[in-house]
Symmetry: C2
Amino acid sequence: MTTENALIEPIVLGAERRKKPSPGARKTVRLGLLGCGTVGRGLLELIERNRALIEERAGISLEVTKILVRDLSKERPGVDRSLLTDRPEEIVAGSLRGATFVAPAPCDIVVELLGGIEPARSLVARAIADGKSVVTANKALLALAGAEIFRAAARSGVRIGFEASVCAGIPIIRALESGLVGNRVDTLCGILNGTSNFILTRMTELGESFEAALEEARRRGFAEADPSLDVDGHDAAQKLAILSELAFGVPIAPGSVKVEGIRQIEPEDVRAAKELGFVLKPIAFARDLGDALELRVEPTLLPIDHTLAHVRFEDNAVLVKGDAAGELIFRGKGAGSLPTASAVLSDIVDIARNGSAPLRYADAPPKPAAPDGHARFYIRFPVIDVPGVIGRIATALGSRGISISHASATLVPGKPGHGNVKVLAHDCRASVLAETIDAVSRLPVLTGKPVAIRILETS
Amino acid sequence: MTTENALIEPIVLGAERRKKPSPGARKTVRLGLLGCGTVGRGLLELIERNRALIEERAGISLEVTKILVRDLSKERPGVDRSLLTDRPEEIVAGSLRGATFVAPAPCDIVVELLGGIEPARSLVARAIADGKSVVTANKALLALAGAEIFRAAARSGVRIGFEASVCAGIPIIRALESGLVGNRVDTLCGILNGTSNFILTRMTELGESFEAALEEARRRGFAEADPSLDVDGHDAAQKLAILSELAFGVPIAPGSVKVEGIRQIEPEDVRAAKELGFVLKPIAFARDLGDALELRVEPTLLPIDHTLAHVRFEDNAVLVKGDAAGELIFRGKGAGSLPTASAVLSDIVDIARNGSAPLRYADAPPKPAAPDGHARFYIRFPVIDVPGVIGRIATALGSRGISISHASATLVPGKPGHGNVKVLAHDCRASVLAETIDAVSRLPVLTGKPVAIRILETS
């Protein structure tokens, strides 16, 4: 048996045996925090609250050695002031401010919670160059500079933990990296922006307008003062790019996700959706067609028995189809201080415990965007309420090869003479439909820009 | 910087750097399979199909060195016959058959897919003693002998991978061990048995009887010839025990889960549930009350907007409440050859890549069962159809302190003179209700055993 064991490659199991902590042994892991905003304070709170539990479960004792903040004078209740610094070089080596050398506080993992691109990008690069693993919740940074960061990390032999960058506390990065490691994933589909889902849910269930629902989201602290990252789909697109790189193993260039927001949606549309047996959801969709990728974020109609149709209000969910595991759905809170801190903490513990190199991240050459697929569409045409208006629109669509299975007209309350014609178009290409709508919208009966919404049929 | 790095504990980050594989480097991981049934063949198929993908993503090349089977002569299409053996000692050292010494084939990880208790238990113990990590899909074994297996593994410094033992391809073990590592979990609730969910879904959506739905499950290969493990709740109870040990960190003795199956459910019950705004689901529920545990598997009524209410047919789902991450839901196929193989493979890759010791498994002292909590209940009393029967039952309940919010009577089609009285009881203790039902069932108008079903109110 001894001879046999000696034959085992040390990297596989020998290392495991060497590294086994003796019962009760604790390893201290020192953290340097960049940023002390909502997530930073959530992390500090969570580390304090569950310290004993983490030590007991994982044999790890966490110690925060320094916290970088912009403004030292700001009140931060519950945060040990002696840990605060406004000098990045006290956490990562080198200096952003010139030649002065400052020895950084000892730390094993750098936790980047600054958000935004700079100085996060430079500080993360510096931490990697220092040989420190980095945990980040910064999806904008990863979407923009992920490839560069992961390459640098591979060169330095350090890990980048980014579970918190997508869907906060939902362990979707782990699921793709580890749970589904033996699967070929071809489709990934999700509700990745809680604010948009909250707004569309309020519009659907309470009949609110987009503006009223957005205001409510603001009141509850979901939406930023400038909500465009959320409601225009860019936040979801960044998350979709990160998830798709993992799922499909190819780099996704920023901007390769087709994005459409939800501002143009009227209560009229969610009502019509319901009557037709659909629910309107902010869907991020990615599919690997082998030689090309479909990547889009747009409001989408789901059949009411679709798995994602029941994901309401600010909840997020991701559906992944693996060739072995089948269809998996992960659902939960996609934002918030503690859910995000939960994900950051899971990465910290994982990096502290596991010595392996990360999976190879998006190593293959990029794939081109797929040509538009076929789908059914719901289309609303704002019109002047004149006799024969349905006929004129249906004829215009038909003459351009778009068949419809349903058409109805309604009046706009409080706007005499104004109405909407709503149609369900048969399977057609989005690009063909767009051209056709463009042509139809030049009809004199039209009063505004038509709204077309894709229907996602499969679960 | 060099000085600084030298101060970092080698276990945390130094090891990581040492272990970084050079680009393109591949590590061969040799697998000894115990068993070549449905899951074993699924695993072999998956390894072949996604070999390149696994090598590329994880830098690991998988090699099956031996496969233990009971019957060497059986046809196994696609399986390399030269790998088969009927002698366990060719995979794990020592001999089950006496003193003959056989040098086992070299392997790094033993994959136990035999199912059942023996010889799985002995062979796993032997593999652990050999210093080999073990991956198993055997929930019955873990439910019975988990504590002993995990203790032995800790002593030998090897890992036990058991993702496949609960809910097949849903990475719920990973979620609890890693994604939620920083969370205190207080509630875990799920649909853990696909056959029972399939049967109740057919009864609900198609009005089938229990027997007809079970027959259909058999026809589709979900249910065994003897379906009692599934429909009597024991399979779900084993899974709940494994998940609860991880979630709450305490050992769960077999038999400490209160179990009730679904055989007594009539189409009548699912119909009434629907009319009252509920859906009947086979629910496994665990809650940590601090000084005691609530653990039960039973058919349960969920409000129709409950997250688990939409989990249909053979799908499984687990809802976990973490104090930081909030409510997370994991959903997917809970059985089947490839989904289970997907989980087995994820454990193999994880053990091959990560050198860390497992989380401490159920180290704390066990907790007693919690006293019965309060709940609302639906109760059906099979009765003789006589005037005043609702009154007599309602009075009997009321006189024993059980208030009701709804009562209705229906006739049993095709059984003249027989009916059912269905009531909704207000919040009461299950134990008090059970005594009361016992008393009421001695009323002369009763024709059979009443059926009481708990209502789970919260999401």
